[in-house]
């Protein structure tokens, strides 16, 4: 089991996209474990160590959340709102990664406390490049809060 802080929590319902993101992160040299949840409700269960994540060690605390917006059940924006209202999780940076480039979604995401908003690239090289930039900024330049 990875330790707290070694994990990027990915909220993404599409397994094909999960594969792409895992691979792009790896190609970009992001040496973090990626835990995956399929919708907003599961994301909250993970953060609250509830539901399927009750067992000790089954949900190591993430240093970052990568969040899709369009998910079944509780969508990404609602989940983002819940995360930012929870004092235990509010300081975790949330990067929205979605196909939507609607102005309404972008504004809502930032208003709800997203750290950044990235539209899913259209090709694999684009994914790798976006992942490199995420690595450079979030894991090399920026200081992240200590994960307790």
């Amino acid at each position: 089991m990875p330790n707290d802080g070694d994990v990027v929590l990915l909220a993404e319902d599409d397994p094909d996209d999960v594969r792409i993101i895992r691979r792009a992160f790896k190609s970009a040299g992001i040496n973090k474990n990626i835990s995956v949840v399929g919708d907003g409700a599961e994301l909250l269960d993970y953060l609250h160590q509830d539901g399927a994540y009750k067992d000790v060690g089954s949900a190591p605390k993430p240093s970052m959340i990568v969040l899709d917006i369009n998910m079944p059940g509780m969508n990404g924006l609602t989940a983002l709102q819940e995360v930012k209202l929870d004092p235990r999780a509010a300081s975790i940076p949330v990067i929205v990664l979605t196909t939507s480039n609607a102005d309404l979604d972008i504004k809502a995401a930032y208003a709800l406390g997203a750290a950044s908003y990235v539209t899913k690239p259209q090709d694999f090289n684009g994914y790798v490049e976006a992942s490199r930039r995420i690595r450079d900024f979030w894991f090399e330049l920026a200081e992240l809060p200590t994960v307790a």
Partner: protein, 486 residues
């Protein structure tokens, strides 16, 4: 009469004259000795004289000047010799015995009959006209009782004939007593006495239909006339259309997301495959994979452009003041512009338009200028904005490229029409179609012509609110941006 009094009298006469004229009532002012001081147009008609005749040049019947009683009946001899009976009501008597009277013709039985026949004929013609259009009509007096109704109105109510409606109070009697809309429409009469409402109408069979009633109050009689038309089918069509639009909207949402999503994955997985097999893949396999990837990207772009096209009008935002010169330069920076392009922009006035729509429009035209440029000469583009009228601006883009063959100048404005195959020139074939749609939104059009060098001239007319109304219509007087070389 001293001067001041004469002027006061004159003003009073003027007022009487206008008032009487508006009521088609003759007016005449006489001195104590019976000389005519003033008269109005309606009196001139009664007396059969020219309204421009000076008062002193006409004579009024002696009875009008001599009698002190009111009303007075007198005989008025018209210029053609015909005598008509008139009745005069004294409205003013001056200190010196001068009189002002309203005069109207006393209609004999024969005249009354003729007037009634004329009225009936008018109503009959009106009935025919409204009936032909299937429009119901009913006319009520100030007591709300129906005076007239046409056959179409009876048909709307499923009554045997319109006679059944005459004399009825539409607010009290069946089958109209179940029509609360009548009260509603009267309550909604605007200050000028008009109301237009849509409401249910109960037919004799119990069927409820939708109708539009346009009511107008007659300020003179206090009654009102109402035109009623069946809008049941029209409203159903509007509902159907709204449903279809919703279906289309759902489709376009699906197109913009669900259809693009698999395309995106094909592109990405082709890229992953290429990376996985980089060391073992043949050049042919690499080329084939690139074709898959390109085709999928193109398909994705095409679906996006189709989605833009379908939803364009709904997505055009509020207008704001936009400077065309920096916008065009910005678009050129964004495009894959070849070296040595000579661009001149003549647009001295800002436009009041949605910036995103204008940007999309310029981008579509300019990308075509670049895509269809000649290979043997530097590309020259001239952009110009000129006000054709107070509310119409004409944007003209002229280039020295390959031009558009005359027989294709209309066809290329339709979606997915391209001048060349994909392999020769990239593009979705949606650019000019989107231009045409934007122009259509702004009440204008797009026209293609040939330039003097054989290139294309794209003329886009847009109806916009002009910001600087003091500016000259001829933009060539305005400041011209220096030609810019890329």
């Amino acid at each position: 009469m001293d001067g001041t009094m004469a002027r006061t009298k004159f003003a009073l006469f003027e007022e009487f004259q206008h008032m009487a004229d508006s009521l088609d009532l003759g007016f005449i002012a006489l001195s104590a000795s019976g000389d005519v001081q003033a008269f109005n147009t309606a009196y001139a008609v009664l007396a059969g004289i020219d309204a421009a005749t000076a008062p002193k040049d006409i004579k009024a019947p002696a009875a009008l000047g001599s009698s002190d009683s009111s009303p007075i009946e007198a005989s008025l001899r018209q210029q053609d010799g015909r005598q008509i009976a008139v009745r005069a009501d004294r409205v003013s008597t001056g200190a010196n015995g001068e009189k002002a009277l309203f005069v109207r013709e006393i209609l004999g039985d024969q005249t009354l009959q003729a007037a009634k026949r004329k009225h009936e004929e008018t109503i009959r013609r009106f009935d025919i006209l409204t009936d032909r259009s299937g429009m119901g009509m009913w006319l009520a007096g100030p007591d709300n009782l129906i005076l007239e109704a046409n056959p179409a109105m009876a048909r709307l109510l499923e009554l045997a004939g319109s006679d059944a409606l005459i004399g009825q109070d539409p607010f009290a009697n069946t089958p109209l007593d179940e029509q609360p809309w009548l009260r509603e429409s009267l309550a909604n009469l605007s200050p000028d006495g008009a109301a237009s409402i849509r409401h249910n109408l109960l037919q004799a069979s119990g069927t409820v239909i939708r109708v539009q009633s346009d009511m107008t109050r007659d300020p003179v009689t206090g009654g009102y006339i109402t035109f009623v038309r069946d809008v049941t089918e029209e409203e159903q069509l509007v509902r159907d259309l709204a449903g279809r639009n919703q279906d289309l909207e759902h489709f376009s949402i699906a197109a913009s997301h669900d259809l693009r999503e698999p395309m995106r994955k094909i592109t990405i997985y082709a890229g992953m495959l290429e990376e996985d097999l980089a060391d073992v893949m043949s050049d042919t396999a690499r080329r084939d994979l690139a074709v898959i990837s390109d085709a999928s990207k193109r398909m994705s772009a095409l679906v996006e452009m189709l989605s833009v096209y379908v939803n364009l009008k709904e997505n055009i935002g509020a207008p704001k003041t936009v400077e065309l010169v920096p916008l065009i330069k910005d678009v050129m920076e964004e495009l894959d512009t070849p070296d040595g392009v000579n661009l001149s922009i003549d647009a001295p006035e800002p436009l009041f338009i949605d910036e995103a729509a204008l940007r999309r429009l310029c981008r579509a035209v300019l990308s075509n200028c670049i895509a269809y440029r000649r290979q043997d000469a530097p590309l020259i583009i001239q952009a110009k904005a000129q006000w054709k009228s107070a509310d119409t601006v004409v944007l003209t883009f002229t280039d020295n490229g390959e031009g558009v063959p005359q027989d294709q100048r209309t066809a290329v404005l339709a979606p997915l029409k391209r001048l060349r195959s994909q392999g020769i020139s990239p593009g979705s074939g949606m650019g000019l179609a989107i231009c045409a749609r934007i122009a259509e939104y702004y009440g204008g059009s797009v026209l293609l012509q040939a330039s003097s060098s054989g290139g294309a001239v794209v003329i886009i007319e847009l109806r916009l609110t002009r910001q600087d109304t003091n500016a000259s219509l001829n933009c060539s007087i305005g400041e011209q941006d220096d030609a810019q070389r890329w």
